[in-house]
Amino acid sequence: MQIMEVILIIWIIAALVIIFESRVYRNIIYFGIFSLITSVCFLMLGSPDVAMAEAAIAVFATIFFIICIERYYGRKGHRAEIAPVSPRNGRWFTKIVLPLAFCAGLFALFVNFMPTGDASTYLKELYLTYFSVDVGGENAVAAILLGYRVYDTLFEALILVVAVVAVAHMSWLDRMAVDDGRHSEIENSSMAVFTMRIISPIILLFGTYLILNGHISAGGGFQGGVAIATFFICRYMIYDIYDISVKKVIKLEEYVFVFIVVIAVFAVFVGSKAFLAYTFDYFTDAFHDAYLIIMNVLIGLKVACGFFIIFYRYVAIERREDSPVEISQRHQDLGGDSNI
């Protein structure tokens, strides 16, 4: 049995464990483990970029979930642990069997109509043969992201901006972030702080390396940006302050996004081969590399700002205790004397 099959079986078992675990905290931690196994699978399938992104997603999704539910379930999960899913008598048929049959039927359909032949390799050969001439660099994935499919990347960056703005403005409170440098209430374990003190500079260095070398090795703007955001989160956990103005970071992110759009459109219209042949005859390679590096740096900066804003928003606003005014407001919403 090959090692890939073993890892796949562990992967499926991890998913089943997630489904049949009823406690919320464990669910989230299992999701982190599941994502890491997935990341190993991606690495073995020959795609280190996606593996890195998946690992970053595992970290950030876990952090977001835990910050979000901490207020409502208590720190140790003792306050309102969800009861195990035990369907009441007579309802187990509609609760369990019908969904199971539905999913099994869909699975049978999927297996029946699954494409079996080899996929076309035309596009693969085209891209792999010409990307170093057309876009430059040595990483084909980065070349496709920033060269052939740059509009995809632009809209993806746009979606991230929209998400950040939505998170910043769609919360329960209309007020903006607490910018007063207030200390947080996180109970730090000294061992974790000690470890993070050692690791966080390495994380920053690693993120910078990923961004700057994104065009010749695995990595790129997104992965590096996430690593840099992780550095800021470590900094927050160590020193217990939020002294960075969230408004300024939002402004910075918006400006960076405008720069990304301008540079990408400029490169698409100006950086065509005919133009380059006349103008940058001797500097084509340098121009290409400079374009890739600048785009990677900008995207990394933007992603770092975005995740940083989301994290601060959750920590500073969502974990804040309710003021009495809001509590009474909520009781009015629920119709006076409800004590749910």
Binding site: A53, F64, V85, K124, W172, R330
Partner: protein, 115 residues
């Protein structure tokens, strides 16, 4: 895998679990695409040497990888928005149980229908 997650999604009673299962479904779709593109042991599409190009079958296909990278980033953005909405629901109903939430909102609507 996708269908396991779909089963979980249908049977989940908790809102947080719903979000987790959507993430699992997304992971399953990404895994499917990468399985289409490369087999085990293919080398990553980083061409530092043009001689590598003579054995085209040994290199993983870069196109699905780039697309899946985009999909992952969009997925985490959407997840952040979902968690914000979930926070809203938490603050409003103080529970994460879909059925309880539904009951509470129906009760609220019955009490003042024009709000």
């Amino acid at each position: 895998m996708f269908f396991i997650a779909l089963f979980g999604l249908i049977t989940a009673k908790n809102a947080i679990k719903t979000i987790v299962f959507t993430l699992v479904m997304q992971t399953a779709v990404i895994m499917f695409w990468l399985f289409l593109s490369g087999r085990t042991g293919t080398i990553p599409p980083i061409i530092y040497d043009p001689a590598l190009l003579y054995d085209m079958a040994a290199i993983a296909d870069p196109t699905p990888q780039a697309l899946m990278l985009t999909a992952i980033i969009i997925g985490i953005s959407v997840t952040a928005i979902k968690i914000t909405m979930l926070n809203y629901l938490f603050r409003r109903y103080n529970t994460a149980d879909w059925e309880l939430m539904h009951k509470l909102s129906a009760q609220e609507e019955a009490e003042n229908p024009y709000s």
